[in-house]
């Protein structure tokens, strides 16, 4: 099968999976007893806010929550018309967030790029730190450098994220004047990007990046090191050495590419991790990202928001796996997706 054919085939498989996932997501979200509006009404009643109750009742009919669940699914995806005609995911209408009282698209839109920013920073951190360190640790295996890098990595790994964040925030603020929490100075919010804003964001990103990144970096570093050590003594590395390649290039071109195979397999996880990877961290660090919104939505059963975020993450997962499958074929030409069961 040529690469192109394979890519097309893989794409259609992805659509199929996505459809199955959408059913599952919808089911899971509707699994727990109760729903947002009922909870909401209960709470509003408890606190005597008659007004909210009316609004909640209004939303219930507006969003067809009084219909059977399968019908709700069809309406949500956009296969069937709702009270106000067809408007579902495939029509580009993601629904309404009851918690935020805004269209899902708007909430997500805001949070999404910040999420991607934070996690991109973390992912970059992981790669920028872990790649060279992992390669170095392998090249210099069992020296003090290897051990120190390992130790620092494990230190980050073995400290609960929140505690680590607190420690970093507290002492960072005390001694280096690093801001606590948030993604930028409040005064820059909503401002156009400027150098000052960028600087503010950069300083705010230090701790989150570090907290989210350490675990990943340590993990990647150690695994890379192990894989590299496997490759380093293979004859083809000797050939490369006999060519007179400089160490850096030698390591990165040959064994690294080979050692990278398991990581490429994991790219499928990288994309969704950009969105959902740091949920708990974002929640505790109060980053205005999609993670806390998701958690809140799930807890309060804000179903359209939750469903959309989950579908989005699922889509990213699927796209990620697809990319990783395609990359794998490019990375290692020996891989053939033929079967072996004869």
């Amino acid at each position: 099968m040529t690469f192109l054919k394979y890519a097309v085939y893989r794409f259609f498989t992805m659509l199929l999976t996505l459809w199955i996932v959408s059913i599952l997501v919808f089911t899971i979200i509707n699994l727990p007893p109760g729903d947002y509006l009922s909870n909401q009404i209960a709470e509003l009643r408890a606190t005597g806010q008659a007004e909210g109750v009316a609004k909640a009742e209004f939303l219930r009919t507006e969003y067809a929550l009084d219909r059977p669940i399968w019908e709700q699914y069809l309406i949500w995806v956009g296969f069937a018309p709702g009270p106000n005609g067809f408007s579902g995911l495939i029509q580009g209408d993601f629904g309404w967030s009851f918690e935020f009282d805004q269209p899902v698209g708007e909430i997500v839109g805001d949070a999404l790029w910040l999420t991607v920013l934070v996690n991109l920073a973390a992912v970059l951190f992981v790669y920028v730190v872990a790649l060279p360190l992992g390669v170095l640790a392998a090249a210099e295996a069992e020296t003090w450098m290897d051990y120190t890098a390992g130790f620092v990595g494990y230190l980050g790994l073995a400290t609960p994220n929140f505690l680590l964040a607190l420690i970093l925030f507290y002492y960072g603020h005390k001694y280096f004047d690093i801001p606590i929490g948030g993604l930028m100075d409040a005064s820059f919010e909503g401002e156009p990007l400027s150098w000052a804003k960028f600087k503010s964001m950069a300083t705010h990103l230090i701790v989150p990046t570090f907290v989210i990144g350490t675990a990943g970096a340590a993990a990647m570093m150690q695994r890379l090191r192990a894989n590299m050590l496997d490759e380093l003594s293979k004859p083809y590395v000797e050939t490369a050495r006999a060519k007179g390649l400089a160490p850096a290039r030698l390591l990165t071109k040959y064994p690294l590419r080979m050692a990278f195979n398991p990581f490429v397999a994991d790219i499928g996880n990288l994309l969704p991790a950009m969105v959902s990877g740091s949920v708990l961290v974002s929640v505790v660090l109060a980053l205005p990202t999609i993670g806390p919104a998701l958690l809140a939505a799930l807890k309060s059963q804000d179903q359209f928001l939750a469903a959309f975020v989950l579908m989005f993450v699922a889509l990213l997962t699927l796209v990620g796996t697809m990319i990783s499958d395609l990359l794998l074929v490019l990375l290692d030409p020996r891989i053939r997706y033929g079967s072996r069961d004869t």
Partner: protein
């Protein structure tokens, strides 16, 4: 040696045509592969030390109650947030044996903390093999003998006490019982599943691969958070905390395998094209054998590294889960539970000793890592 006129050199030593193929030493030849590996491992100093350390840790688990001076939930109402006490030997120049000074607490209502004064005039020698609170040796045999305890009127908080006056040191010992065992179950489950499915997909390819891959994709794109939330509501209330956590870690393992499976799969997709795999196949080796004898060993380093990396994740997994109300909880003690209690500024800045559980975690994690590295090195054919 003789150099002949035309620059020719001929070795002068006696030469015999025989190829001396000596009889091999039986014992040596019969040594199974693991023994050879073990011999190699013994030479990896730091790995060996780590291994011994971990062995001791695990041996200590059943007798933690004996070593700990207190039981994990024993509260000393008069000693809240007591700082660590030191054990000393010499008092005013004379040898007393191991002793502690008695401490007394006072509430400081200006700063809202407990302040402690140490009475350095009366050394109180520790008691050994003394009676204390009840516990179960090996989880079965009731006993109340402790290796050491404080004499009446004094306390022995080696690593301080926490908010309710519980001994941090004892709690760490007890916490090890859970942290070092239950979490590992999750790893085992996830590794078993991950390797099995990854190997099947990677080795067989084709339809097997397709099915497993779709399963992986779906599992992965399935939201974990709502599952946890649903689970936290669904677990029967009267289950003990340990039972809940046990189930949770198994489920954690069950959900965790796809990552590993994909790594295994992709590596196997490439490894299965290697000539030695073809050779084994042509000899009639069954897939199980090829996977376990040919493919897995070539991915061992990654697996070992992944396993050692999962350990901190599993030990700490509960802290994240506690956030969702699913973690371990009192009265169960684990390192994660203790750290969870320490997740506030006061524990960092004022009562720093409540964050001590970080230490054993780091040490154990490092030990596992070095052990893993030792293992990896001793399986590495290219190392002497």
């Amino acid at each position: 040696m003789s150099i002949q006129p035309d620059n020719r050199y001929v070795d002068a030593e006696a030469w015999s045509d025989e190829t001396n193929i000596s009889a091999p030493e039986r014992a040596d030849m019969d040594a199974p592969a693991w023994l050879l590996t073990w011999r190699k491992f013994k030479r990896h100093r730091i790995g060996l030390i780590s291994g011994i350390f971990l062995l001791l840790c695990y041996l200590m688990l059943p007798i933690a109650g004996f070593i700990a001076p207190y039981t994990p939930n024993q509260r000393s109402a008069d000693y809240l947030y007591a700082p660590p006490q030191s054990v000393e030997l010499w008092h005013e120049g004379s040898f007393v044996g191991p002793y502690v000074y008695p401490i007394t607490a006072e509430a400081d209502l200006v700063n809202f903390r407990w302040t402690y004064t140490t009475d350095t005039s009366t050394p109180m020698p520790l008691e050994f093999f003394c009676e204390g609170a009840d516990y179960n040796l090996f989880g079965l045999i009731p006993s109340d003998t402790h290796l050491f305890c404080a004499p009446p009127g004094a306390t022995i908080f080696l690593w301080g006490s926490d908010r309710l006056g519980r001994d941090v040191f004892s709690r760490i010992l007890y916490g090890a019982q859970l942290s070092l065992t239950v979490g590992l179950i999750g790893i085992t489950v996830s590794f078993l599943l991950g390797i099995t499915f990854g190997a099947l997909a990677g080795y067989f390819g084709g339809r097997t691969d397709w099915i497993i891959n779709r399963a992986i994709e779906i599992l992965r794109s399935l939201p974990e958070l709502p599952l946890w939330l649903a689970l936290s509501a669904a677990v029967p209330s009267n289950w003990g905390p340990v039972a809940v956590f046990f189930i949770i870690s198994i489920i954690l393992g069950i959900l965790d395998w796809p990552g590993l499976a994909r790594a295994v799969r992709s590596k196997f997709l490439s490894l299965r094209e290697e000539e030695f795999v073809k050779a084994a196949e042509m000899m009639g080796a069954r897939p199980a054998r090829i996977i376990s004898r040919h493919l897995l060993p070539n991915f061992m380093s990654h697996l070992i590294a992944s396993a050692t990396l999962s350990i901190p994740a599993m030990i700490l997994g509960e802290t994240a889960l506690s956030f969702l109300g699913l973690g371990l909880r009192a009265p169960a003690v684990s390192w994660g539970v203790m750290l969870n209690d320490a997740q506030n500024l006061a524990s960092i800045e004022i009562y720093w000793w409540t964050a001590i559980p970080m230490l054993p975690i780091i040490i154990v994690v490092l030990a596992f890592n070095f052990l893993g590295d030792g293992l990896r090195a001793s399986l590495d054919p290219y190392k002497g």
